[in-house]
């Protein structure tokens, strides 16, 4: 009886995942592969209800994988079983302690319609500009990028959002007139952009292509204070019954071959330093040592601790 590896992930782009990862990996491991699909929250909640059982590998964005770690749902990784770790950017190797590595990298920044926003946006603080009244969409506080707004608001007010939360939220209050509506999903953002409801958004880079398809003048702002890094991680839940296989799988997806294929086909930005892309292939990704070096890193442990309070305050600011 062959083993079955159960993978929990989002579930989009199944065809490419099959071709690039699943089929070749099955050949290597001689095992069956089964998926559990859904968004971060759904899958992590279910994993918690199952007390960390039922899944061998779980894909999450970094804020949720941090949550999983805090809930004690994952086991530590045996780095020795993942030789390909050596080839990935430093920030992805052990982003949340001894738990799972990142397998792709992205960034949060500002996009704007260069045809309508003048002068161009060049810093986080530009979001507060008077000429952007009723032009902006922020990510909802419950999304990956939402809490980053709080951090940037703190910075804009000259404070640390963790230390002086009041300051950060008074800055958000000040930002409110510029906000048309906050979005909760990528598709919602794209709709807001394509219908002209908003011209400026704080967004993750993977939405850029779609926004540009709708409004070709959408531009990724070159922020002098830098974009923020987001990582998607892979972890092994503590109840995994195929720990060996899980390590083997993680090692496989970090391999140059997989990373190269995924990047070329527009699935995920590479975290492997071995991948090389043409400028055209690279333009939609967070790619290259320079760009990676310029990214700000988030302490998700700290952020998750503050999040419940932030959500309440955020609700009160935007809900009145």
């Amino acid at each position: 009886q062959s083993k079955t590896l159960t993978i929990s992930w989002w579930g989009y782009n199944g065809e490419k995942m099959n071709a690039n990862i699943i089929t070749p990996f099955k050949k290597i491991c001689g095992c069956e592969i089964v998926f559990e699909t859904g968004n971060n929250a759904d899958r992590l909640n279910k994993l918690k209800l199952r007390d960390g059982k039922g899944v061998d590998v779980i894909y999450l964005t970094d804020s949720f994988s941090q949550l999983g770690i805090e809930q004690g749902l994952f086991q530590e990784i045996d780095a020795s079983k993942i030789p390909n770790l050596a080839d990935i950017y430093e920030l992805g190797k052990a982003p949340q302690g001894k738990y799972g590595p990142a397998y792709t990298i992205g960034r949060v920044g500002i996009v704007y319609d260069s045809a309508k926003v003048n002068p161009p946006i060049t810093a986080w603080g530009d979001l507060w500009r008077d000429d952007l009244k009723s032009s902006v969409s922020l990510p909802g506080i419950t999304t990956t990028a939402g809490p980053l707004v709080v951090l940037e608001a703190g910075k804009h007010g000259g404070a640390d959002a963790y230390e002086d939360t009041d300051k950060a939220f008074s800055e958000i209050e000040a930002l409110k007139p510029n906000v048309v509506k906050n979005y909760n999903t990528g598709s919602e953002l794209v709709n807001l952009i394509s219908t002209g409801e908003v011209r400026v958004a704080l967004a993750q880079d993977f939405t850029l292509a779609s926004m540009q398809a709708a409004v070709p003048t959408m531009t990724w702002a070159k922020l002098k204070d830098g974009d923020i890094a987001t990582l998607n991680t892979v972890n092994i839940p503590k109840g995994s019954e195929n720990v060996e296989l899980a390590h083997q799988f993680i090692n496989f997806i970090l391999s140059k071959e997989v990373q190269q294929a995924e990047a070329e086909q527009g699935v995920d930005a590479p975290i492997s330093t071995k991948v090389s892309l043409t400028p055209d292939q690279a333009k939609i990704w967070t790619y290259g040592a320079d760009m990676v070096a310029g990214l700000t890193r988030i302490d998700y442990a700290k952020m998750n601790a503050a999040k419940a309070d932030w959500i309440d305050r955020w609700n009160e600011v935007f809900g009145q």
């Binding site: 992590l44 419950t142 048309v180 598709s187 919602e188 409801e197 419940a308 609700n315």
Partner: protein
């Protein structure tokens, strides 16, 4: 034998609800009374927040308005459909079902196109000179209600057509022959006789709109936050199931009360209504 019929027929469904719903949900909600800070601590916390109370009132308000509008609009439409000859009637019923087949995301996109700043309605109003500036129709309580009514009117229609068809023609004739003008016949005969359907529709719409979260989030935004969204945040984002269960318990008590009040009103209109 008779007793078996009475209770036996309801038994499978009753057991299903008790075992699969009441007990599991009671267990979940029971956790809210086991907080270290005190038996009712989570509830005290909830109600001491002005913002939370505001969300609760808003939710109640939106659900009640949605129910009232859906009830009226759905009833009148169902009434007209019920008078149609058989074929036209069926086609209209099927047409009414279509809105239910659309996913929440595309549906909200459609309303974005209609109600948006650059939307069809604004464009029309401006080009006809009625407006000089686009109106902000989206992200208001109104847009949430419109979108929910859109979803619940078909449900009302579907529930009511059958009930209205079941009203014997003779009773309407009898009413007319006693001098009741159509409007009076409507209020004194058709309406009471339709209450079994109306109450079902009202309950479905009220509970549906009271617990909804995707539609208010997409068309109302955070300004129109409702209890469902609130609950969703607690449960799915912060993993605070106690907080979420507290909200759920409050919602259940409230909706149940409203449902019971509705049933009471229905029985006053028609003592035969269950």
């Amino acid at each position: 034998m008779k007793h078996f019929a009475r209770w036996g027929l309801t038994m499978p469904a009753t057991i299903a609800v008790v075992v699969l719903l009441i007990v599991p949900v009671a267990i979940t909600i029971a956790a809210t009374f086991a907080e270290p800070k005190g038996v009712f601590a989570p509830y005290v916390t909830f109600f001491s927040s002005g913002f939370r109370r505001a969300v609760l009132y808003r939710t109640l308000e939106i659900a009640l308005i949605t129910t009232a509008i859906s009830l009226t609009v759905g009833f009148i439409t169902a009434y007209v459909i019920a008078q149609m000859p058989g074929r036209a009637k069926s086609i209209m019923i099927v047409a009414a079902v279509f809105p239910l087949l659309t996913g929440v995301v595309v549906r909200s996109f459609a309303w974005l196109i209609i109600l948006g700043k650059n939307g069809i309605l604004n464009t029309m109003l401006i080009s006809t000179g009625i407006l000089s500036e686009p109106l902000s129709m989206l992200y208001t309580e109104g847009s949430v209600i419109v979108a929910m009514v859109y979803l619940f009117v078909p449900l009302m229609i579907l529930t009511l057509v059958g009930v209205l068809e079941g009203i014997p023609r003779d009773l309407i004739d009898a009413s007319a022959s006693l001098g009741a003008r159509p409007l009076m016949t409507f209020f004194q005969v058709i309406l009471p006789l339709a209450t079994p359907g109306l109450i079902v529709g009202a309950v479905l719409v009220f509970t549906g709109s009271f617990t909804s979260y995707a539609t208010p989030q997409l068309l109302g935004g955070e300004k129109q936050m409702m209890m469902g969204t609130f609950l969703y945040q607690r449960a799915m984002v912060t993993f605070d199931w106690v907080g979420a269960s507290t909200i759920a318990a409050i919602m259940v008590v409230l909706t149940l009360s409203v449902v019971l009040i509705m049933s009471r009103i229905a029985r006053r209109l028609n003592p035969m209504a269950v």
